[in-house]
Symmetry: C2
Subunit: 194 residues, 2 copies
Amino acid sequence: MPMFEIFETFITAQGDFTEEDLRLLRSHTTVKKIRRKEFLLQEGEICRYKIFVAKGLLKTYVVRHDGVEHILRFSPENSWATDHESMKTQTPTRINIEALENTEVILWTRESLDESCKTVPAFQTYMGRLMENALRITHERVLINLSYTTEEKYEDFITSFPDVFNRVPLHMVASYLGVSRETLSRIRHARIKQ
Amino acid sequence: MPMFEIFETFITAQGDFTEEDLRLLRSHTTVKKIRRKEFLLQEGEICRYKIFVAKGLLKTYVVRHDGVEHILRFSPENSWATDHESMKTQTPTRINIEALENTEVILWTRESLDESCKTVPAFQTYMGRLMENALRITHERVLINLSYTTEEKYEDFITSFPDVFNRVPLHMVASYLGVSRETLSRIRHARIKQ
């Protein structure tokens, strides 16, 4: 399926979009194919795009001064990635967005995102809901970080992201959950034995 | 200062509000005084209010099945508290909102919040920005949870919430940061010695 049609199928399930709305949205975006290990954003840059993943998988992460990588988010098909803060305030980002697989994305600049929201009310409504969802999920993540045991974190990850789980190595799951690879490996073995 | 005037002072610094806007907002809200240790929301209830703190301090937390309390948020003067998810979907909450001091709050129900946003565009704009900020802060918190050392978490808390820090016992700071009270106590002593 051509890339923008994947987005059309996705977005028309999220609200009432007319043919004209879809034409407008298409006119405000660019599509791009990137290869595995290619970056869409690197620390120190100003974030230029809000990214929709039509195909593939992105990893959003920070690297601490001790060189350790912490994964903030996985973005598989039909999900989004960006650094809102950097994009909005035009300040350098601390995050990196890298493709874990060959990936196809649809890109909005800050201007084209504003324009899309202004000219397509259903898109603005969707963006508001996307923000609310992101807040809900991030609150949930804080709660999980604080209060779940490692076993519970692992179970929750498998349930919440079944398709991501099968596509990334265990050390990345550990990095996302903020637990050691060894502990996670032990839990997985215990789980398989059951 | 009467309670609603505290809110007026706060909100007029956030956008362009007319006298009529303020009158409308006032008509959509109720004010309430609650005593220390009183609850505004308890686990199992459906969240009824979006809460603005005019005076005092609230604590938002969950209790895990093992009885351990995890603090999600402190809300001092001029900040907000609620469970959006429970309020929006009318489902029972898992969180508790409790006063840590005698507290004065302004309350919006779901209906009055919708009404306020509909009739006062500047309030809707502010609410959108509040949501964006909440998302930014919560993302930041995930990052801190995952990647900061306990020392760094403690330093960041002191810098980010200087007035909260002086008003809550150390074990609550530990609960908020997701670190043990003993570790935090050790860090504080080392810091005082410096």
